[in-house]
Symmetry: C2
Subunit: 149 residues, 2 copies
């Protein structure tokens, strides 16, 4: 058998690995572990969460490598770095069919994903109108989650 990966990788991991090799990156254990972990996520994780999860579940990866790899993936456009005003960045796999934004509870820090077509339309409309080459957008709604109210 060619594959002996822990869990079968999804479309995202496949596409990501392809982009990585296209971009000239060699294979490496640290990067494979990060990609594998992100592949299982539907929403964003912080670098420290990634570090902890990797140490527990997959394979410990140095902090420097985690940040380096996340930056590479962000530049390749396969990972999005989102800043939710919590003093730390979060990273999530980019899946065009699951584009979404976030609701952040100011009390407990909970992060909830949502998507809305009219909102996206408004953003795209603006992007075309301004004298600015818009490459991405981030929308965060702050407030209190159901539990914290």
């Amino acid at each position: 058998m060619a594959k002996t990966k822990k869990k079968k990788e999804s479309e995202w991991a496949t596409a990501t690995n392809e982009r990585l090799s296209e971009a000239g990156f060699r294979r490496g254990g640290a990067r494979a572990a990060v990609v594998s972990l992100l592949d299982e996520q539907s929403c964003a994780l912080s670098a420290y969460e990634i570090e902890d999860l990797l140490a527990q579940r997959e394979r410990a990866v140095g902090r420097a490598s985690i940040y380096r790899i996340l930056e590479e993936l962000d530049e390749l456009g396969v990972v999005a770095k989102v800043e939710l005003g919590q003093g730390q960045a979060r990273y999530e796999p980019v899946r065009p069919d699951h584009h979404h934004h976030h609701l952040v509870c100011d009390k407990c820090g909970a992060v909830i994903a949502f998507d809305d077509a009219p909102l996206e339309r408004a953003v795209h409309s603006i992007s075309k109108r301004v004298d600015f080459a818009v490459e991405g957008h981030e929308i965060v709604l702050h407030g209190l989650c159901a539990d914290c109210r």
Copy 2:
């Protein structure tokens, strides 16, 4: 004459000082200087920019005080803390009649303000639909400014 302030304060400073006293805060030189400086701003400044500007123009204020005061003002809802993904927070006076969002140049860091009614409508519409008490929102468009393209 009752007033000998450097420049006549605008509606924002007046309302802010009122809220501060309502909230039980005493007067103080550091806070007055920060409020006065913010009152002149139409868009966001970073804590360091505020520190430098105060040291030059108004009255030097300790860094700890600047952060403490900005946090108080943010909690009172008269200042908005905006995180534009530049590794530092920025703060701007909240003027309901000048609600806006930001375009950030990923190359030179330029920040440009914009506002859009359809976008706000979409956000408010979402706010009503989710099981979440939305208290604010932040929208950032990333890309390259006209100069950097």
